[in-house]
Structure formats: C-alpha cells, structure tokens
C-alpha cells in the first residue's frame, strides 16, 4: 500500500507541490493528470526518492521515503519522462545490469530477463545493442528494466510520449496487465482519454494542488451529478425546449441552435424513457436522443484554469 501524506516541495520561493495526500492499494492504476509544470513530475520524483520533500512523506509498505530510501528503491520501478540508456550494451546485458543492482540472484536472472522481455514483446531483440532499438522499443526496454525486480510500485512519468499509436495501444495493454498482476501503478500523461481507459483512479493536479482524486466514474459523477441529454429535432426545437422544461425531474432545458436541445435531467432511467415518449406523443419530430456524458477531458477542463507555477 502507498500512503502519500501531505507531500510538499519548495524550491526557493516557489512551491512546486503544496502538500498533497492520497492512498493507493495493490492493483490500483492511478492516472496523474495536470498541465506542464503542475507538479506531477516533482511528486513522482519525490516518491521515487530522487527529490527530498520539504515536508510530508510517502510510505510504501511501511518504508518511509525519507527514513529508508534504499528500502523504497528496492520496491519501486521508476520510468522518467526523459531518459537515456547505455548505447554500448546489449539489451540482455542492460537488464542483467539492473537485475544485479536490484540483487536478483544470478541463477534467476536469465529467467527473469526472458520473462520481462516476453512481457514487453522484446524477446527478438535480446542480443541487439540498445542503440539499434527504435524509440518505442527503448521505451519498452525502460519499462522492462522497471520490472526486473518485480516491484510493488511502478512510477511511469509520461510513458507514452513519443510513441506511435500502435506502440501506445500496446503500452496501454501492458500497463493494464501490470495492474491485474497486483502492482500499484502511477502513470502521468497528457492523453486523457487513454488514461480513462485503463486507470481505476485519477488525480488532477494544478499548481501543486490535488484538485480531485478518486475513481474516474466518481470524479465525473461529482462534477456532473445529473444526466445531460442532447436531443435533435427536425424542426420546432424552441417549442420542444419549452415543453420539456415542464416535464417532471427536468432540471433545465435549453435550445442550443441547429435543432438541438440540451436537457439536464435528475430522474431515473424509466423517467428518461418517458421524456422521449412524451415528446413524440406531443408531435415533436425527434431525429436523435442521446446521453451526453462527460469524460475525463471535460472534468479536467472544468476543474483547472491552465495556470502554472
């Protein structure tokens, strides 16, 4: 379990992270969302024991990042947003090097290396020099490196940056698989729809403050507690809007032009079906009727102002 407690980082007069707190359990895939300079990387680097927090701490399975960084390092796999690899070593040597650092027993190393290469789909490149790998492959190699010691916590800072769509899809699947394996995964990304697909919780950070934290569905529900429908009419949308406003549980109704009416509705599914039935019975010609559910991007844009430190 990871407990982040009031983590804070100041650089001179600048507060990059303003005391954020959250807890994550095994199997959680946590999406860390924020603009550039919001404090994502600083938070991740503090949890990775690369930056000393000004205040607060994080505890991973009982090991405190401030008191016992070496114990924390043994339990984490960290993939920075920008990283370099050793060009003059082969793929298996690179993994063997890190396996040795993480004190994987020499007899088990070959097996471990083979399994992480298989997991990251790099088996065919085992004997290749690192410098000969494409950007996507290097990204996967870095992820394989993070996995050689079977870490409890994975810190992935913008892991999909610079990847082509196929590599992104593969990475997404791989991260989902790691979550199923019971690891805690923290992923920061700018690509919000992708995060929503595989993260079971997200945190939105701006100017060092955690504005929202929780399951994706819950955050969206908190931001938009009522259902919103977009109904298109062949004609007479303004009258339809006025009529809908008189129906039970309709909180608001607004004609937005081009024959569209947006309805905010506080009732249940049966009532929702009744709205459509009564519109048709009243003679309004409905061409489409769909729920306009908010997504992570809408929530992010609603919560944040775009301001940076």
């Amino acid at each position: 379990m990871l407990e982040v407690k009031n983590l804070r980082k100041e650089y001179g007069g600048l507060t990059a992270v303003k005391g954020i707190s959250f807890n994550l359990n095994p199997g959680d895939i946590f999406g860390f969302i924020g603009s550039n300079g919001a404090g994502k990387t600083t938070t991740i680097r503090m949890i990775a024991t690369l930056l000393e927090p000004t205040a607060g701490t994080a505890i991973l399975n009982g090991a405190d990042i401030r008191k016992d960084p070496m114990a924390v390092r043994r339990m984490i796999g960290y993939m920075p947003d920008f990283f370099g690899l050793y060009d003059d070593v082969k793929v298996w040597e690179y993994l063997d090097f890190f396996a040795a650092i993480y004190q994987v027993p020499p007899k088990k190393r070959t097996e471990v290396i083979d399994s992480v290469l298989e997991l990251t789909n790099l088996t065919v490149k085992k004997q290749s020099f690192v410098q000969s790998l494409s950007r996507g492959m290097q990204q996967r190699l870095c992820l394989a490196r993070c996995l050689v010691h079977d870490p409890t916590l994975l810190l992935l800072d913008e892991p999909a940056s610079g990847l082509d769509p196929r590599a992104r899809a593969e990475l997404k699947e791989l991260i989902a698989e790691l979550g199923r394996m019971g690891k805690i995964v923290i992923v920061s990304s700018h690509i919000l729809p992708e995060l929503a697909d595989f993260c079971n919780s997200v945190g939105i950070i701006e100017r060092g403050e955690l504005l929202a934290f929780g399951p994706v569905g819950q955050i969206i529900k908190d931001m938009q507690p009522h259902r919103v429908f977009a109904v298109h009419f062949v004609s007479d949308a303004d009258n339809a809007s006025e009529y809908v406003a008189t129906l039970p549980n309709v909180l608001s109704s607004q004609a937005t032009g081009h024959g569209e009416v947006r309805i905010e509705y506080g009732g249940d599914l049966d009532g929702q079906a009744d709205v459509l039935t009564r519109l048709i019975q009243k003679g309004f010609r409905v061409s489409s009727f769909r729920e306009d559910s908010a997504d992570l991007e809408d929530v992010f844009l609603k919560l944040t102002t775009g301001a940076v430190n």
């Binding site: 650089y11 001179g12 600048l14 990775a48 930056l51 960290y78 003059d88 040597e93 650092i101």
Partner: protein, 282 residues
C-alpha cells in the same frame, strides 16, 4: 569477508563499466564507426612505435619511453573519462541509477574500475616497446625501471580519479574535461616553466618538482653523477628517494579523490535545479 569488499569488488553491478570501456575503446564491434577508425589509427601508431623502438633499441632509454607513455596517457585518460558521471547526467540515465538501490561508492568505484581496466590495457601495450628497449639499452637499471613504471601508473590513476571527481562535481562533461586539463596544464607545464624562467632557488625547485611525474622520471632516467633537476638546478635529493615515495603519494591521492567523488554525488542526488527562468533563486 568484509561487506565493503563484497559490495565494491565481488557484487558491484557497476563493474559492467569494464565491458563498456572495452567495447567503446578496444572493440571493432561496438557499432560506432568513429571509434573503429580511431582504434585503427591508434593501432597503426602503436605498430609504428614498436618498429621505431626495435630499430633504435640501443639508443633508446626505456625510461624515456615511460615519459612518453605518461605524457600521452595523461592527455588521453581525461578524454576517455570526462563523461563518466557528468555524461550520465547529460544523457539522462543518471536518474535511473539514483532511483535504484545502489550506493554512491559502488557507482564511483565501478566507473574507476572501468577506467583502470582500460588504462591497464594501454600501459600493458606500452610494456612491449619498453621491454624491447630495456633489453638492448646498455645502461638499463631494472629497479629504477620498475619504480618508474609503478610511479607512472600511480600518477595515471590520479589523473583518472581527478577526472572522475570533476565529472561527479559538474553537470557537463566538457566542463569536467576543461577543468582537469586546465589543472594538469598548470601543475605539469606552467609551474615548472615559471620556475625555470624565474630561476628559483634549489630547495624550492626540488621540493616543488618532487611530485612532478616527468621530473621523477627524469631523475630516474639520468645517470648518478652530476645530476640536475628539470629546472636546471643541481639536485640534492638522493636518488633512492625518487620513485617509491611518489608512487605511494599518488596512490593515496587517488583514494582520497575517489572518496571525495563518492561523497560529492549527494549534491546531484538531493537537488535538481527546477526553477523557472527569472526566479530569484534560479
């Protein structure tokens, strides 16, 4: 067995640096064509040196070859090592190491062992022409030759340790290279030249030149009568005090500098400059 010995020598993952140095500087299969071209040229020059020494072995003092070796490797060692740690920062592979459970001593020692391996190969290669010359040169003194070889090697270890120290202290590899070459230039060239030009007194010049590697080799390579130091002063330090004291001092310096480098890594570990331009603390 002591834990530190196991951590540094037996189970130090950073000993991969030996493989990396071998690939980078002594292999045609590193995949880097520039390295292959440089290696070819170095081997051709080496073959030329061996042939020249073989043809002039009667007239070539083996200690003069050690002087040549020392001078050459004093310039080459920093060029091979300046990016040892600063290069990791520039390449952004440093974070991966710092976030892993490896000690600073293991990092510094591993880098040093890589350099030591490369240096040992270079010094061993030089032993061939030195041996050819020593076997034919009429005035070869084997004991002096041994101390000259050891002293030269110890001095080159100092150069390596100094380069690693600067590489650990600065963020850019080229800054480390410039600083090391600057220090070596001042201590090995500028100061002796100033002394020579200024005509300093005998005691000062001898004390100052006592730790100058070329001065030591000069003393070891000369004959025992009418001995003069490099700054044209008659020498008063007895011949038996040249060679072994400097070897010990250089070895101690190397240990001190490596220790300092290991401690210095804290500087990079705890703070990374992360301030926007214009901030008063940036």
């Amino acid at each position: 067995m002591k834990q530190w010995f196991q951590d540094l020598f037996l189970h130090n993952p950073m000993l991969i640096e030996i493989t990396r140095f071998r690939r980078r500087y002594f292999s045609f299969r590193s995949g880097n064509s520039t390295n292959s071209v440089v290696l070819t040229m170095v081997l051709l020059c080496y073959a030329g040196l061996v042939l020249v020494v073989r043809d002039n072995s009667h007239n070539t003092n083996p200690i003069s070859l050690i002087m040549f070796e020392t001078g050459l490797l004093t310039v080459f060692a920093p060029m091979m090592l300046y990016g040892a740690i600063a290069g990791e920062r520039e390449r952004r592979s440093w974070d991966l190491l710092l976030a892993a459970p490896i000690t600073k001593s293991q990092i510094v020692f591993g880098k040093f062992m890589g350099a030591l391996a490369a240096l040992s190969v270079a010094v061993l290669l030089f032993q061939v022409p030195i041996l050819i010359s020593a076997l034919s040169f009429p005035e070869t003194n084997w004991l002096k030759l041994l101390w000259a070889t050891l002293m030269s090697f110890a001095f080159l270890l100092d150069v390596c340790a100094l380069t690693i120290l600067f590489s650990a202290r600065v963020k850019r590899g080229l800054m480390a290279l410039g600083a090391v070459l600057g220090i070596l230039g001042i201590t090995l060239v500028v100061i002796p030249s100033v002394f020579s030009a200024a005509g300093v007194d005998r005691v000062s010049s001898q004390v100052t030149m006592f730790l100058h590697p070329i001065s030591v080799l000069y003393e070891l390579g000369g004959n025992d009568r009418d001995r003069y130091s490099m700054v044209d002063q008659p020498t008063f330090v007895p011949l038996w005090l040249w060679g072994w004291p400097q070897t010990i001092v250089y070895a101690l310096f190397a240990v001190l500098m490596l220790n300092w480098a290991a401690k210095t890594l804290t500087f990079a570990e705890n703070e990374v400059k992360f301030l926007p331009q214009g901030n008063k603390n940036a």
